[in-house]
């Protein structure tokens, strides 16, 4: 199994993407020349200004979009279509209002194989697992409530549970905490930290909150705006498990400050180009 440890779990080699042929012909790319390697279980955060192609990156990783140029491998296999070993959650929880929290979390199992075929027979088993998962993010007692009876933070927790119910190897989060207040957001950071520590899946977190990225990630990538490129790769050596207190230490703020510097420089350069 040594070789498996050595080959990266996620492997982007010089990936370019133009959304259609016309844009390709004009040389306008959503993301340019992206290379990235993540080892198994690594937590990656991608930060950058709005509209810099972070979400495009997610679509590429999950196989919802094919690259125009370059290659993407996940778990040693080239990505050729939607990647079932991934779960996704977004800024809007997009829970279905006519389903209870529990039924929302079970939705992926009604769709994805191999759970789909035996969903009805093994429902009790799945329900038990969904309840355990909901309990692990502090939602026990809310299983039979409807999403609109939950607070924004709770909805987001349920949305993350939905992304994890089919035990994906890779969790993709697109600004999942962007719409929450600061205190709820920090609570959810800890929830996500604990889930990652317990289950060991890969995480790709897209965010524009630098503190969030430094607190949670093993490696932070800074992305530039149009074209989307990685301009900085920064490993976060802060020891785990990390506590919220850590965010007030100089070591932490220094890293945040350093990343902030990169983004500031990028924005300045952008302003010069625009003139």
């Amino acid at each position: 199994m040594d070789s498996a440890v050595e080959t990266p779990f996620v492997d982007f080699q010089n990936v370019w993407l133009a959304y259609n042929e016309a844009l390709w012909a004009e040389g306008r790319f959503a993301v340019e020349d992206i290379s990235l390697q993540a080892r198994r279980g690594e937590f990656i955060a991608i930060v950058g200004p709005s509209g810099c192609g972070k979400s495009t990156f997610m679509k590429l990783t999950t196989g919802l979009r094919m690259p125009s140029r370059g290659s993407i491998q996940v778990d040693g296999q080239p990505v050729t279509g939607p990647l079932k070993i991934s779960g996704m959650a977004f800024q809007s929880s997009s829970l279905l209002p006519w389903r209870t929290t529990l039924d929302n979390v079970l939705l992926p199992l009604e769709i994805v194989e191999p759970y789909r075929t035996s969903f009805r027979q093994r429902r009790a088993e799945h329900v038990e697992r969904a309840r355990a998962l909901l309990a692990s993010v502090g939602l026990s007692g809310y299983e039979d409530k409807f999403p609109w009876e939950l607070s924004g933070g709770m909805q987001q927790r349920a949305s993350i549970c939905r992304a994890l119910i089919h035990q994906p190897r890779m969790l993709l989060l697109d600004e999942p905490f962007g719409a929450l207040d600061a205190f709820t957001r920090e609570e959810l950071w800890c929830t996500l930290r604990d889930l990652h520590a317990a289950q060991g899946f890969n995480v790709i977190l897209v965010t524009h909150d630098l503190r969030e990225s430094v607190f949670l990630a093993d490696t932070v990538y800074v992305m530039s705006k149009s074209p989307g490129r990685f301009v900085v790769r920064r490993e976060i050596e802060l020891p785990r498990p990390r506590d919220l207190e850590l965010t007030y230490t100089p070591a932490f703020t220094d890293i945040v400050h350093e990343l902030r510097g990169h983004i500031g420089a990028m924005r300045k350069a952008g302003a010069v180009i625009n003139q």
């Binding site: 679509k59 999950t62 196989g63 919802l64 939607p82 990647l83 079932k84 991934s86 779960g87 996704m88 959650a89 977004f90 809007s92 997009s94 279905l96 209002p97 006519w98 939705l107 992926p108 009604e110 769709i111 994805v112 194989e113 409807f146 609109w148 009876e149 939905r162 992304a163 089919h166 697109d174």
Partner: protein, 255 residues
């Protein structure tokens, strides 16, 4: 009486007020019953001819429901088709809009040629006039899908059918029930209009025959009955809507 009660009883109060005013004016001005009958006279006629009216009303009622049932089936199927495919939507929608702009009464003579006098034209007119709102509402419900949710499902290998059944259809249900309320009242219009020229039974026929024999009280009584039936059905579907899709009508203040 608090504001909530006033709100609840306001339609009845208004109706009562209008009837009183109507009665007062017709009595005071001694309007001839052949021109404009008083509410008392209409009631009198309603009681006097209640068996005849009931028979015609029953006919109109079941014919309307038959046309309405057909409208639900066709409306849902067409709505499902055009809501689930962009090409079908682009192809069908403009034609349907054009069709909907045609006055349905104009179809009655054609339907008479095809199906003869009787229930055929009435059912089909009720159907033609009421399937459109059902179709449009189903299609709208299906076509509005959050892109994020679509990604979440697609990455799991969801087929188009899965997305339609798990998300699209439930989401379009509130639109569907809302459209039923509108469609049932339209169906009554269709039946009545058709019966006026192409039937020997039903409220529409009653209106024409009462009118031609100058029985204005009876004609108004017929109108009253068809209006009452339409309102009753509207309220019925309103109740069904509230009880089946409570999630879509939640108050902003929570439960």
């Amino acid at each position: 009486m608090n504001t909530k009660n006033i709100e609840r009883w306001s339609p009845w109060l208004l109706l009562f007020g209008v009837v009183i005013l109507w009665q007062t004016i017709t009595s005071a001005l001694q309007v001839s019953e052949f021109i404009f009958p008083s509410p008392a006279r209409i009631l009198e006629q309603l009681v006097e001819h209640h068996l005849v009216i009931a028979a015609h009303a029953w006919r109109t009622f079941w014919v309307t429901l038959a046309g309405f049932g057909l409208a639900i089936v066709v409306g849902v199927l067409l709505g499902f088709l055009i809501g689930s495919s962009r090409v079908a939507y682009a192809a069908v929608y403009p034609l349907m809009t054009g069709f909907n702009a045609l006055p349905k009464a104009a179809f009655v003579p054609i339907l008479v040629v095809w199906f003869g006098i009787g229930i055929g034209p009435a059912i089909l007119t009720a159907f033609l006039i009421s399937f459109f709102p059902i179709m449009v509402n189903i299609a709208t419900g299906l076509a509005t899908l959050e892109p994020e949710l679509e990604d979440v499902l697609r990455v799991l290998g969801a087929r188009r059918w899965d997305v339609l059944v798990k998300v699209g259809l439930p989401r379009s249900l509130p639109y569907f029930y809302a459209s039923l309320k509108v469609a049932i009242t339209l169906a009554f219009v269709g039946t009545t209009v058709s019966e006026m020229t192409a039937a020997n039974e039903g409220i529409g026929y009653l209106l024409i025959s009462a009118g031609s024999s100058m029985q204005m009280g009876l004609a108004f009584a017929g109108l009253l009955v068809v209006g009452a039936m339409a309102m009753l059905m509207y309220e019925l579907f309103g109740l069904v809507e509230q009880h089946t899709t409570a999630w879509a009508h939640r108050g902003s203040q929570g439960h």
